[in-house]
Homo-oligomer: 429 residues x 2
């Protein structure tokens, strides 16, 4: 299948050639040319007009829990532990596979429509989520999140499930699905149990993804329980000897930042969720200065409460300026990198997150002929400071069009919205 | 003209009856019934289906500079004074009436489409802006912002213009336009000049609107120049003896907050702009606790960079949680009040900002059958934490429909976008 986008403007995220214009050519799952003219003998199966659109790499959401969309707005304005233990966990304990399926599909629908082409998901019933990803055409990095506050037998069963899932689904759906291993957090997994995940991660040659230092309370508890802050604790357990992606990492000392940089640990910054749960504001300028790879995640729509990655990009660009009184920290392009190419690199995907010949054709189109995008002074600025998920008109993943003029091609949006609403009614009944 | 909305769901913002459902009836410019059934003998000229929509009061944007939309994205990631003095002011000095017209129309188009029905505007060439407001059908509180760093003669000419404009346009456009008087800021207007505005405000019986304590630098300079922080300074000059709306008020001491509460001074919180210009984060929880009326403003789209009031509402709800580590500060409903009823009260409009019989029919409709609004757990939560300007489908101001199924009825959007783009090209040429 050969697709030609004609007369388009491309924000490539390749800093050597940030913009290009003219033709973009796709052959099967890959971009083969960005900008200029198609070779004379090159025949497209489909030609698409690029007029009035800005094309850019699809957004990469590096932390979330898609099935939790069923709990959007179910409990707000509460502290993390109360919200989690008294509201989220009791409802999630009631989840059936049907709930996981429609919760994750509802999130996938929102993400595709909003220009996210790759997402990380940590949850249970991961086979159900993987099937939804496969069906949808999206790209995802999936991991069975494991809470180890249970008997040894249960722990072993959960670890085994996590390992089996990771082994079975890694590379599936034409390579669109990859996997990781996830002890949920240092405060929900005993040390020896975390070590078993490290070992499994080595055996399977897969990365580790875990929550860390989201709240002050959790850091203090870690010091109390294990005599060390979470970074030192995970370091001792060997977690950072493995490729590792941390979600949140809000509360860090200078020394902890140095350790993360030294071990090339990646951080998924979740500004919206951290604000909403009053967890605090991560030290992103310091992390970036230390050379830590920082990407962006929405977290679940129960703590966000949408999956609009443009909002996370904007928050990443705005928030740290306001807190540091320095308008030059996290410039627009840096924030946009966090939502695209740095996101891809953070999850060990080296062929997405930019528009370049040879890369996977994960591309989104933005309608820039709208009042909030006029005048066309600086389109990076507009994407970061003015755009939203609703500006996305078209989405391709692996060269396949998943959104066409704002309509989904692989999923039945109306049916999914209906089923998701019914699932919540049953859970809440 | 009689309009009946049928089978609607209404978020009234009247805390005694936050929700209503059934019919909403409009007669000319006013709401005459919210919820229940229309009287049997009541004949509508137009009946509108409310299915799948949430109707709520139009949003109230209490601080901005509409013509600056032409400079959206022109200069970002700079400190306020550099941004203002080296980038904005030189460009604005070149503004013709044509630029003011299309800059303000571009903002008006964005605001109507985004569900804002009333806005405050402080700028020059205010007659041109007033004409645009009149034409558009929106409601606005307009004020000629005056910078007094000039000769006495120029000062007098500017003051005279401000007074003439305020006198002439107050109550115009069927009462949709009201006016205020605006010395730009304590750091741009000498004390005796500010006193002349106080006098004029008394003579005309109109409120004062000014910028105050946006940056730390400006507060320090005020102490240096006048031996007092801005609140004490303006208090001494008699500004707070008049009805007064302050924009920003980011840097306040406890004592200053008490004074603002005592004198019933209203504050327009501009979280997006304050973050972007690295001005800091206003002490909104303390202001609210002290009983100060706090509303929300976008500021101009040169420092925001859009005019999406849903974003400001969301930032107001999120930001202060993250900074204080308290998830209960600025709950969703409080933030929504700031963007609606408290906004209206802050600018002395007592007939807008809520859906209630007798109020002006300033109403917006939100499409709640979208993935990011499902399930319908808590619609206040969804509006605050998930919605955006792009979810607005219909807008009425003074009973007249300005947006119908996302299309403008009074303005030519395409022509305005085109003219605004040309204006910027000329300014930048």
């Amino acid at each position: 299948m050969r697709i030609r986008i004609k007369d388009g403007l491309y924000l490539t995220m390749d800093e050597q050639n940030l913009y290009a214009s003219g033709d973009l050519l796709i052959e099967d799952d890959r971009i083969i040319q960005v900008g200029g003219q198609a070779p004379e003998d090159w025949q497209a199966d489909e030609t698409i007009s690029g007029k009035g659109k800005l094309f850019m790499p699809g957004l990469v959401n590096t932390h979330g829990h898609t099935p939790m969309s069923l709990l959007r707005g179910y409990a707000d304005d509460l502290a993390l532990q109360v919200w989690l233990e008294d509201h989220m966990w009791p409802m999630e304990a009631k989840y059936t596979e049907q709930d996981v399926r429609y919760g994750s599909l509802l999130s996938i629908v929102e993400m595709i429509k909003g220009g996210t082409t790759t997402f990380v998901d940590m949850y249970d019933h991961t086979e159900v989520i993987a099937a939804a990803v496969e069906e949808s055409g999206m790209r995802a990095v999936l991991t069975r999140g494991v809470i180890g506050l249970c008997s040894k037998e249960e722990q072993q069963a959960k670890l085994q499930h996590a390992v089996n899932f990771a082994k079975e689904w890694h590379g599936k759906a034409d390579g669109r699905i990859t996997t990781m291993l996830s002890p949920h957090a240092p405060y929900t997994c005993p040390p020896d149990y975390i070590e078993q995940f490290v070992e499994a991660s080595r055996d399977l040659n897969l990365p580790i993804h875990t929550h860390m230092s989201e709240t002050i309370k959790e850091v203090e508890q870690n010091v109390k329980d294990y005599g060390a802050r979470p970074v030192e604790h995970l370091l001792k357990l060997g977690v950072f000897d493995r490729p590792c992606l941390l979600a949140h990492a809000v509360h860090l000392t200078d020394e902890e930042i140095s350790i993360l940089a030294e071990y090339d640990v990646r951080v998924s910054h979740n500004p919206g969720s951290n604000l909403k749960l009053a967890s605090g504001i991560a030290r992103v300028p310091e992390l970036l200065r230390a050379g830590v790879k920082v990407s962006l995640g929405t977290d679940s729509s129960a703590s966000n409460n949408n999956l609009d990655m443009f909002e996370e990009i904007r928050l990443a660009a705005l928030l740290h300026k306001g807190v540091t009184y320095d308008p030059t920290v996290v410039p627009a392009l840096t924030a946009l990198r966090m939502g695209t190419i740095a996101g891809a690199e953070s999850i060990w995907l080296d062929e997405v997150g930019l528009l370049k010949p040879g890369c996977k054709a994960d591309i989104i189109a933005i309608d820039i002929d709208q009042p909030h995008m006029i005048p066309h002074t600086d389109l990076v600025s507009h994407i970061v400071y003015s755009a939203s998920q609703h500006d996305v008109t078209d989405v391709w993943v692996d060269g396949r069009q998943l959104l066409k003029n704002r309509a989904l091609t692989t999923l039945d949006e109306e049916q999914i919205r209906w089923e998701a609403a019914r699932c919540f009614e049953r859970l809440n009944g």
